[in-house]
Symmetry: C2
Subunit: 411 residues, 2 copies
């Protein structure tokens, strides 16, 4: 039961240029879906470095466990992703299937199984159709090509209603390098088990430690600031690869090297772009909600408050109903557990101050924001008046469509 | 727009007998609703003791702030509750209105304002119609009577679709004392700002310290184990009064006195009964969900895991769809942040083991629980296999009705 494309989908998706040293592609392996690609691979040149951020779920899937053991090594030659089956909670067989998959990929492209990362997204608690998967690997390994990014973006999605791609160039010294990224995600998990996966690659030459030092804080400000339903997936991951096959640039050994400033900025822009696209494709989403919390004791506290607002079913249903029910925003601030002082809190919606100094703004009239509430992009600002901490979080409204997708539709 | 009575409502509500030294009643003060009582009062005999548990929201309402300052005194002569307006985030005027209300009640029944507790439930950020409220107080103070409990149960509700009452007798030594309780709650907050309020009174003679030592842990196991949408109210409170006007009984000075064992058990039964009624009246609820987590490191960890399951939109929508999507239960365990070891987790639904030893139970067939999923009472059991901690939590499914009430209906 495919769902209509989200009304919040971007009008166009960028073409992703080749990244030297990176081949990609997807094929229809018949693992779960009919008539579409569901097995995706990236193959990388020898020497490619990698860093990753994965779910902190204590019931994480077998692929996440496999990758956790291999990411510290800092290099990878491939990642293979199947859509439709998460390979989660499948006992020891789940781990065996991951190992067999990695070994098959290694054999096909000529590397060790330990140099292959694995991802699965879909239903929990069903064994992978491993024979079909293994049979498809050699063909997929032959199929991958430098122009395969769009194919890969289509191969990894599940309940997503549109593909999610982003690209940029960045300057390192006098060289211009390229960064491509794709992602999937719609609910944190869903009947077909949509989860958040993201794959980003660059032709820059960067040690894995630098990649990690860039990726962790940027992920915190981008993917970790998106919530659809607050349900953390067992399969989330964001992997960042650097092939080193692009134009020669000055050697960089630290994420804080000024030569990397533009690269870091562009990388963050790509991850932010993909993160917002995920919120735009939230199950049943009719409105994108951007929540800015300022004046918190620190950035961490600001993010907790912003996520409390972004995860509140009452805030999200009010916005679905185009109701400027700001009392629910105050409620969500109060439940966050972070410090808040009533008389210092200010609430703005659509740029209009609704409440301040511990009470409603006497000049506020609901008509001032009626037009904003009817729009597709809702902006909530909360200033706590306590310090310099700030955070921006993206989410979507909670609509009948979410119930349709998750209750009326059987997995 | 009144909503149909919840299909999960109890078939009957008990008659609440008089409690010596406690008068109750409700009148239509025209504060918000038309044609129904919306101002409720309990008046107590001199010497009545009290203990209370209130919301931990940092944006709690003015009445909560007022009560927080008075509850440590341990005695009270009255509590007044208005429905339809929460008196939250109303700045200094909100506090002034509470003080004026308490003063008016004190004058009407002949006690100090400091001996009057106050509660409000309803919309956030609108000033109370304080003149109307104050004008209604003298009549209400004359109106309260020993048979007024049912009236009070009707006077405090907002979006509730049924009244919530419970009563029991208990033995203290050779004496038989009575305990009555009423509650309201439907969503944590809602357009009409349903919140959890509960008032319990007994004719036993118990010091406020004993009441508090009883109430805090019992509340943790009852009201604090109910969730409808995870949105914590700014106005929640549970107050327990003891008039000491019932049959003479041995003096009790400690909550652990064996003479109090039966009383403690009956008190917990009443609070549990009211708590489950709140879950049964959850906005849009079609199914009551009871979640038992066992084998946790301790009871606290068990409750965190149980609430993670009970607050998961994906678990709640799956149950609305009568889908035994147990992978979502595993997901919720994993996101709770509490310790879990994949290979020790067991999941049972409707008494049938679905998953154990880190994977699906090979003997499980979905047909085994199809009938259970179609019923009104859903039972989820998760054993973590780590220790002796356990917790039981009640919630309801997440349906189109919740969206209707909270999005389509303008406050």
């Amino acid at each position: 039961m495919p769902h209509a494309v989200s009304p919040l989908a971007p009008e166009t998706q960028p073409d992703l240029p080749p990244i030297a040293g990176c081949r990609a592609g997807a094929i229809a392996a018949g693992l779960r879906y009919k008539g579409r690609a569901d097995l995706t691979m990236f193959a990388f040149a020898p020497g490619t470095t990698v860093a990753g951020v994965q779910t902190t779920s204590t019931t994480a899937g077998a692929p996440v466990v496999w990758n956790d053991d291999r990411l510290p090594g800092g290099s990878a030659r491939a990642v293979i992703i199947n859509a439709g089956n998460a390979n989660v909670f499948n006992g020891e067989q789940g781990m065996k299937d991951v190992a067999a998959t990695a070994a098959a990929v290694g054999e096909a492209i000529g590397c060790a199984a330990e140099e292959v990362l694995v991802a699965s997204t879909g239903v929990i608690g069903q064994l992978l159709p491993i024979d079909k998967l293994l049979a498809a690997v050699p063909g997929l390994a032959e199929h991958v090509h430098e122009d395969g990014w769009a194919e890969a973006a289509g191969g990894i999605i599940t309940t997503d209603t549109f593909e999610k791609r982003a690209t940029a160039t960045a300057r390192i010294g006098n060289a211009t390098v390229t960064i491509n990224g794709i992602a999937k995600g719609s609910g944190m998990i869903a009947p077909n088990m949509a989860t958040m996966l993201a794959y980003v690659a660059t032709d820059a030459a960067l040690p894995s430690g630098v990649l990690r030092d860039l990726l962790v804080p940027i992920t915190d400000r981008t993917f970790n600031c998106v919530t659809v339903d607050g349900d953390m997936s067992t399969s989330d991951m964001c992997l960042l690869f650097a092939t080193g096959m692009g134009p020669a640039h000055p050697k960089v050994e630290s994420a804080t090297d000024p030569a990397l400033a533009d690269f870091a900025e562009k990388l963050e822009a790509i991850l932010r772009d993909l993160a917002i696209q995920i919120a735009r494709d939230g199950e049943g989403a009719q409105k994108l909600i951007t929540i800015d919390v300022t004046g918190a004791e620190d950035d961490r506290a600001a993010r907790v408050v912003a996520l409390a607002i972004g995860n509140s079913p009452l805030v999200k249903t009010a916005i679905a109903g185009e109701d400027a029910n700001w009392g629910r925003i105050v409620m969500a601030v109060g439940k966050s557990g972070e410090k808040a002082v009533r008389d210092r809190i200010a609430v703005r919606v659509g740029g209009v101050t609704i409440a301040r100094d511990g009470g409603p703004d006497p000049d506020y009239r609901e008509e001032q924001i009626t037009g904003h509430m009817k729009g597709r992009d809702i902006h909530i600002e909360v200033d706590l008046g306590l310090g310099g901490g700030k955070s921006r979080v993206w989410t979507c409204d909670l609509t009948h469509g979410y119930i349709d997708i998750n209750a009326d539709y059987r997995s």
